[in-house]
Structures are given as structure tokens and as C-alpha cells.
Amino acid sequence: MKRSDNIRNELQALGLERILQHPNEMPYTVPNGYFESLYQNIDGNINAEKMTNAEIPKSLTSSIGNVPDGYFEGFAKQILSKIKTEDTIIWTKEMPFDVPVGYFEGLAKSILASVEKNTTKSLPTRIPLYRTIQLAASLALVFFVGLGIFQANDHQLSLQKNFATISDAEIAQYINENLDDFDTDLVLNGLSFKNTKEKKASALNNISDEDINQFLIEDGMN
């Protein structure tokens, strides 16, 4: 069977010559009379085929296959008969089970009643194992993060509480004894000014004119 140039060229361009040595026919065996009926069928439909967009592939016309005799001849009728049978089944698809009288009429009400009764109860739900693991991991993460934040806050709170118990006199005495530990920047940074500008202005206000003059003389700016 001749392969189209399009397919041949494509495979050659890929350097796949070996495939081209193989016949592009299906190797399944042929039941008696299959070829005859297949050709007749195709020949009979050839004009109709030209009217459709799709062309019968060349490989099909020479396909070898283990198809039972007359399979294609009866196929359409077989399908129609199956559809009809299924349609009939749909019409006779009633369930043979009895339902208590008035069951459906009262069903909605009874469901609503039981839902209202159990609104406070949580419904048990079956959670798959991987979801349980995900949930446990999330809870553990939330717990440890929360614990860390709580401990940090607690530590800060306890420090603040301890500082609050120290009297001003004790603080003043501590500063006098350890004056070297406090430089100007540390003291200024410890004050709660709204912004740097205000901070600097406030710091300069506390310096006497004499000190400023002294600073300017020493730096040779006066």
C-alpha cells in the first residue's frame, strides 16, 4: 500500500527511515468474505464520501482484520435494536420495592424537624487520612506560633510589671552610680518623641547658651 508523500517526507526529515520499510497495514487476519463486502460497501458509498470533508484513509481499504463475516452489514441494525431495547428499559424502569404510604409527603418535614433538633450537634464527618494529617500539621503550627507570641508578650509584660515596681528614687540612684553606661544618644533614643526633628529640637532646648558658646569656641566657629 502506497504511503502518502506527506507522511514519507515527514519521517525522512526526522531520519526515521526504518519505519518506512514497514508496510502501513494492520496485520490482523482476514475472515472469509470480509474484503469483498468491505470493498462493495466502500465502492457503493464512494460518491457520498466525496461530498463529505473526511476521506476514507487508504490504509483502511487494505486493512487486514479479524472481523466476523457480515459484521459491518448488520452493525447499524444491531445498534438501532439495542437503542430500542434500552429505550424500552427506560420506560419500564420502575423499582419493584414498596414505599410506605405518605412517606414522600412527610419526608421534607421530618428532615427539617431533625435538622432543627440537631442544629447544635455537629455532624460527624469522615475525613480522609491525608486531610487529617494536613489538619493536625496546621493546628500544630498555629499552636506553636501562638505559644511563641504568647511567651514573647508574657516576657515583655513581666518586664514591664517589674519596672513599674521600681521607684523613681531608685532609678535616679542607679543612673548616678552607672552614669558611664548612658550616653546621650541612648538617653535621647529612649525618650518617646514623635519624630527625629522634634527629638533634635528638644535635645537642643536642654543645652544652655554657655555650653553652646563653649562648643563653638572649641570648634573654632565663633
Binding site: L16, M26, T29, N41, G44, T52, A54
Partner: protein, 188 residues
């Protein structure tokens, strides 16, 4: 009396919408496409019995959904798409029933090797059977693309409509598949 085989798809689809011509139109559509679809399926599943089961399901689905089919769309493309989906679903089910993991290509290969061996006239030394063996080492979707291109000689554009994949991806898939087939033929 109308010669149904002479009518094009559009006319048959219109006739399907009329109650008293519905069955005749459907019969004509089946007759027109049954063989093409048969081989499209059989190349994938190997056995005639499996092919027949799939083909029946496909046409029953077509019967049920044909009324909703848009007349401006291509019936042939739509039919192939149903056939392809039905075939892939069937194969997945078959692999599940055989406890073969869908992603496990080695086990899938064994399944097809056994199927081919069971076919009448199988001869491992004949080149046409070797080519079948090579094709059945491919993953299902690659196999599908290879068959549509190599046997049906289907243009990538049409293939793209059927499989809902870009033409570029299909070309890449076909080239990849052809290289694997070539490599198999070289080694066996």
C-alpha cells in the same frame, strides 16, 4: 425512495431531526463511519470484541446526543472525539481491572504484548507485527497521535480539533513517538 448513502452529513443530520426519517438517517451515518471508527478503535485496543463493545457504546452515545449536536460543527470530528474518549476510558478501566497502574507503561506493554500474541496469525518475526509491538510500547496518547497520523494520515489541524491539543504539541508528540518506534525496530 431516497438513497441515503448519497446524502452528505448535513442532510443526514437534518433528516435525523425528523421523526419518520430519524432511524434511516442514523443508519446511513453509522454505515458511513463505522469502518473508519472501527479501525481507529481497534488499533488502540487490539481485540475485535473490545472494539465492538466500544463502537456500540460510541454509537449509542451519538444517538442520545445527536439532537444537541450543532449543525455547523463537523460531525466526523465530533464522532472521532467521542470514539477517542470512549476508547481511552475503556483502556483505563481495563488497566484498572488488571491491577495495572495507568502510569506504569511497562505493565501496559505486557498487557498489549499478550493481546497481540493472542491475535490470530500473530508472528513475532513478521515486520507488520513488529511494528504493532513497537506502537504498543508507546503511552496511550502518543499511540493515538501516531496512529492518526501514520495510518489515517490525518492532518495535524484536524487532529487538533479531535484531541483538543495544539498542532505544535501534536507534531512534537508524533515525532517523539516515531523516534521511539524507530528505536524499538532497531533493537528488535
Amino acid at each position: 425512495m431516497a438513497d441515503w448513502a448519497q446524502l452528505d452529513d448535513k442532510a443526514l443530520l437534518a433528516a435525523f431531526g425528523i421523526e419518520h426519517t430519524k432511524e434511516k438517517a442514523f443508519e446511513a451515518l453509522i454505515k458511513r463511519y463505522q469502518e473508519r471508527l472501527y479501525w481507529h478503535v481497534r488499533r488502540m485496543v487490539v481485540h475485535h470484541e473490545d472494539t465492538n463493545d466500544i463502537l456500540q457504546n460510541v454509537f449509542i452515545k451519538v444517538w442520545r446526543n445527536l439532537a444537541e449536536f450543532r449543525a455547523e460543527a463537523n460531525f466526523y470530528t465530533w464522532l472521532y472525539r467521542i470514539g477517542t474518549n470512549e476508547t481511552l476510558t475503556y483502556i483505563e478501566k481495563q488497566k484498572r481491572n488488571s491491577s495495572i497502574s495507568i502510569s506504569d507503561n511497562d505493565e501496559g506493554e505486557n498487557m498489549y504484548a499478550n493481546k497481540l500474541k493472542a491475535e490470530q496469525g500473530y508472528d513475532a518475526n513478521k515486520i507488520e507485527w513488529k511494528l504493532q509491538q513497537a506502537i504498543h510500547t508507546l503511552p496511550e496518547k502518543q499511540k493515538l497521535v501516531f496512529n492518526l497520523r501514520y495510518y489515517d494520515e490525518m492532518p495535524y489541524e484536524k487532529m487538533s480539533e479531535i484531541l483538543g491539543t495544539s498542532e505544535g504539541a501534536l507534531k512534537a508528540s508524533y515525532h517523539h513517538a516515531a523516534k521511539k518506534v524507530e528505536a524499538f525496530l532497531k533493537d528488535h
